[in-house]
Symmetry: C2
Subunit: 207 residues, 2 copies
């Protein structure tokens, strides 16, 4: 099946399967099943089998999935069997926390550029990276061929930043600012939205 | 249908529908359709109609959904037509950013307690809230009947903090620490995991 024919909602679940498989690897498990994954994830085993069937035949009837093999295949399918450079824009409390977050490299990403518009921050270091001026951003993104960015600016700057990122060739934006941003077709935006997660859990609260 | 009979995956989509409806309200739109919502969200209109049908009859054939009414109904279903108190544990860069995040109150939540184990932070203010000592946490949670918490500690403290939260009556935890935490049945955990979002987008990147 062509990549573009597979529903977004199926693609959206693959990283969740991959995270569960990495957890199984940490537990030194070699084999799993759609039932076990389903139990852990609150997704039906039929759904998991159907999702994976878009990409080929990964398990054998009755013997389950080889954890390492399925994890590698999902990494390959998701294009994360390589390392994508990330530009992080906005280095306030949140931006600093993201820059220090240790979880990106084993997922296929590395923050390699920090930008901020505040002259008081430009030139300062966060870990090994120096904060660069927003005015240099477009050139740097083009030179380094950066396709992925994160926005951690205040809400009222996020759209302008997104416009500039897209104009400079960015095709995937993870937006932490609490505002919906508009981008042209062909560019992906995902949101870090704690409200969504809290509301999901509130359904189950009864007092 | 009993609340517990509705699949988790359906509940998980309701906040996404609600967010889209709130956006439509901001655009002063009065009527929408499963087609329009589906287009905006990358979810099929049939899926949206099927999800909503678990909870009753919200739209009329051919006339669509009244945006305000459907938003209110979803807020009621999700238990967010009230305000839940949140305790935030861990007030480093990330915790401070979360404490300053303005998006919780219109979603049904308010951070009312900050806790940290570092004596250098205890007693300091973030906005209107004073950081309290972790040693007081269990008593405060019980006194204030707090059911919802966020963990923004380093990964190696997150499980201990979760254990203490659950023992003190917390039933929903939003975990920002990059580690899977274990809780007993009946307690919900959701994760802020930027890696999941980045991997979803990487699928569509082609160079």
């Amino acid at each position: 099946m062509a990549r573009s024919d597979i529903p977004d909602i199926v693609i959206g679940r693959l990283p969740i399967y991959l995270r569960a498989l990495v957890r199984l690897q940490a537990e030194e498990r070699e084999i799993t099943s759609s039932h076990e994954l389903g139990e852990r994830l609150g997704i039906s085993s039929a759904q998991i089998r159907k999702d994976l069937s878009h990409f080929g035949e990964f398990g054998k009837q009755g013997t389950g999935y080889a954890v390492d093999t399925l994890a590698s295949e999902l990494q390959r399918i998701l294009n994360v069997d390589r390392e994508w450079q990330i530009a992080l824009v906005g280095v306030g409390d949140l931006g600093r926390a993201i820059a220090h977050y240790g979880g990106f490299t084993q997922r296929g990403f590395r923050i390699t550029q920090l930008f901020d518009g505040d002259p008081a921050k430009v030139g300062k270091r966060v870990g090994k990276l120096k904060i660069r001026d927003m005015a240099e951003m477009a050139d740097v993104l083009r030179e380094e061929n950066i396709r992925v960015a994160m926005i951690a600016t205040p809400a009222d700057h996020a759209q302008d930043v997104a416009d500039e990122l897209v104009a400079a060739g960015v095709r995937a934006i993870l937006n932490y600012a609490p505002i919906i941003i508009s981008v042209r077709k062909g560019v992906r935006v995902e949101y870090i939205d704690p409200g969504i997660h809290l509301q999901r859990m509130a359904y189950y609260l009864d007092d």
